[in-house]
């Protein structure tokens, strides 16, 4: 690391309709510095990255990178690349239908003298990169045929094909990786650093930050908190600054003794999971943890009748049921908060009122005619009860902040008063305040004797809320922890279970 500054972030503000995602972030990054960026989900880390990379235009402020003594600003992703800025985003973003070799050479495919694609050269070049990252895979393999962890590594290794790299951003690169792959990544980061390339490293795993980063910038609710040298801080310090209060508090909800069995799933098999069995009892929270691609969401989609199952049985309150479509599941008393509220949870361009009621219009209508008075009353009631912050129930849901949108989804489910509630990533894109309110809501639900399943990829949350936990890996139930065992587990144990490798053929 030198003292030469590479990147200047000056007072970045980013407004979205109804929410201020960034509230004036300023910091500078030196050449060859590895800077960690930490903050809770919704703290604005990803938005900041997008502003740096020119994918989003900040409402105010500027980001400048020093290119051979001249300060330049990237207006879009292509310019960013030209300026030597590269980002490895949270989701695997490579062309899934193409081979590894083609992905490495996208946009600069070598040609033979005849002007045809020079496959030999492409494979040879690719082999070098693959070996460098110890991946042991055929360069001609198509991305989609590879396990997710390997896809993630290909995405990371793809950065190394670029020339004149100045800055590399890693957004949660290890979420999908096993331990040995993490070490390979760390070696690569060290190599970048030695070449004088700066790195921005985002991770929820604070141990990694302690190991690989020079300095750390803490963000909270879209605001800049502070930047410290890693040698000056410890994990507890970071957590207290990220959350603004000790971590344990936010998850400390009142649990109760579980009651009767509400849901039993036996030997459920589907396209992306195999042999899943579990029970859900009244008044408990059953956690489902797994890395991205482990099949946890797919299991729940199948239970809700969205995706087809190939075999297995589902019982609700001891009675066998056939859940062929979401409507049947809905009528049998299941409420499902989906992973992505924007694509399938909410009618985004409709009002809060319609969204609150749309899961239960049959309950407030007779002969197909809606009781408008009840419709309005219910929307007003839930707006008050769960604190949906909106100027009116006629507001378009798209204009609400993530947390309030999520509350509308919950209001929608509660209008039906289902006994079984499945929450898939209930706090994604939700700010800390709203997060706490959602947890309080879940607390009141289990006190009423509802059974709640929570899927979370955020370990502290999954661990902090669950009474019992199922851990999934590559479509299998890797581990089950009853309440006694779960109490003795720490994050590492769970993560180890979630990283179990299965023979792909078995699925």
């Amino acid at each position: 690391m030198t003292d030469e500054i590479l990147l200047k972030i000056e007072n970045i503000v980013k407004n979205y309709p109804g929410v201020q995602a960034l509230k004036g972030i300023s910091t500078t990054i030196k050449k060859g510095e590895v800077r960690a960026l930490v903050g809770e989900n919704g703290a604005g880390k990803s938005t900041l990255i997008k502003c740096i990379m020119g994918v989003e235009t900040p409402t105010e402020g500027r980001v400048e990178i020093c290119c051979d003594g001249i300060w330049k600003q990237a207006k879009n992703a292509i310019e960013a690349k030209k300026l030597g800025m590269h980002a490895n985003y949270q989701h695997v973003n490579i062309a899934g239908g193409l081979s590894i070799a083609e992905n490495y050479h996208l946009g600069r495919i070598p040609k033979t003298q005849m002007g045809l694609v020079d496959w030999d050269a492409m494979v040879k070049n690719s082999k070098k990169i693959i070996d460098k990252f110890h991946l042991n895979v055929d360069p001609k393999a198509v991305i989609n045929s590879l396990p997710v962890a390997l896809q993630a590594m290909i995405t990371i290794s793809k950065i190394s094909v670029n020339e004149n790299i100045r800055l590399v951003i890693f957004d949660e690169p290890t979420a999908l990786l096993e331990n040995d792959k993490v070490l390979i990544l760390f070696d690569y980061i060290k190599e970048l650093k030695n070449q004088g390339i700066s790195v921005i490293y985002i991770s929820h795993r604070l141990e990694e930050i302690m190991e690989i980063c020079d300095s750390v910038t803490i963000m909270k609710d879209g605001a800049y908190v502070e930047t410290k040298k890693v040698s000056e801080v410890d994990k507890d310090y970071l957590i207290s600054k990220m959350v603004g209060r000790p971590m344990a508090d936010i998850y400390s909800i009142k649990h109760r003794k579980p009651g009767e069995e509400l849901l039993r799933v036996e030997g459920l098999c589907g396209k992306k999971f195999k042999n899943i069995s579990f029970q859900l009892y009244a008044g408990e929270i059953l956690g489902f943890f797994g890395l991205v691609g482990s099949g946890r969401s797919e299991v729940m989609r199948a239970v809700f009748g969205v995706d087809k199952i190939t075999s297995g049985r589902i019982y609700i309150k001891g009675k066998p049921v056939q859940l062929n479509n979401p409507k049947t599941a809905m009528l049998k008393g299941i409420g499902f908060l989906t992973e992505d509220r924007r694509t399938d949870g909410l009618a985004l361009i409709q009002t809060v009122e319609l969204n609150t009621n749309m899961y239960s219009y049959d309950m407030i209508s007779k002969g197909g005619i809606i009781n408008l008075k009840k419709e309005r009353k219910r929307a007003e009631e839930y707006k008050e009860k769960i604190g949906i912050k909106t100027p009116s129930i006629k507001q378009i849901v798209n204009n609400l902040s993530g947390g309030n949108q999520q509350k509308v989804v919950i209001a929608k489910l509660l209008c039906r008063d289902p006994d079984i509630l499945i929450f898939d990533e209930p706090t994604v894109g939700v700010d800390v305040g709203a997060k706490e309110e959602i947890f309080k809501l879940i607390e009141s639900l289990i006190q009423q004797g509802k059974g709640v399943i929570i899927i979370s990829s955020y370990l502290p949350e999954a661990l902090g809320l669950s009474d019992r936990m199922v851990v999934m890996a590559e479509g299998h139930m890797a581990e089950y922890f009853d309440s006694k065992r779960l109490k003795q587990m720490n994050e590492e144990d769970i993560l180890r279970a979630a990283s179990t490798i299965y023979n792909q053929e078995a699925l």
């Binding site: 109804g18 989906t338 009618a347 409709q350 809501l441």
Partner: protein, 331 residues
Amino acid sequence: MMRKLVAISRPEKENQVHGLKNILMRTEVSMILVIALLFMLATFGTKNFFTAYNLTNILKQCAIIGVISIAQTCIIITGGIDISCGAIVGISTLMVAMGQAKWGMGILPSMIIAVTVAVICGMFNAMLIHEFNVPAFVATLGSQTILRGLIKVISNGGTISGLKTEFSSFASSNLLFLPKLAIVWFVIAVLVFFLLKYFVFGRNLFVLGSGKEVARLNGISIRKTMYMAFAFAGLLYGIAGVMLAARINSAIPTAGEGYETNAIAASVLGGASLSGGTGSVFGTALGTVLIILIDNVGTQFGIHSFVMQVITGGVIVVAIVADQLKKRKAG
């Protein structure tokens, strides 16, 4: 029950309509202003605009396009589009004329046949779109071509006349100074308004238009809603076809040609978004009036009909661009 939770999150940005500027921004208000302007211009600028004959004529034209546009709006709300509407109107017109002139049917049976055929056509569209996953645009373009061909086959390419006098006199008679055709339009508009506002079916159209997955995961049967929407649209096209047959007192093979453009334009002018999820009966009715009025006023001022087509097209493009700009501003 749940206790009220402490409010921690930040307050939402106000997005409600405030002030004169924003009132003018509302689609309906701006359209009423444009319609009023055109009306004044034509009344004081030309001799023959503000006459009972011309005004009645405008209303009759509005009535038929108006009914079709309302049906089109329902389809657009679901996120679909119906290119075949003009052709379905055409086949309905043909059926009612054939029924009365060739098959010796009474007025009511001939009307029932016409409307039934139109409903079946709508269901056929729904089948193509839902069962075979054909995009609505392509599916209805295909059925439009089939229907236009069928019309020519059945009619032998000729005009069918000889409709019953009691039938065609309905189109030329008035009730309380208003053409009966226009009254049919008003009644249908009110009914569909209530359908969209008070019925679960109506709400489902809006949810479906906001996203298919949203609808499915909220327990709405996409199949049922699609079939019902297209069958209902077919029903309205059928009625429009009967109205058209009465008005021209015959069935010509080209009946209803080009109506799809007017119907889609009226819906979009009235605030329906082609990406689905929005649209209103009132807006569409205003859109219909605007389109017919532009054409009529142009003719009154002696603008050549070729030029009028350019102007009408221009108005539609401006409306769509304005809609997009408004959306971009709203984010």
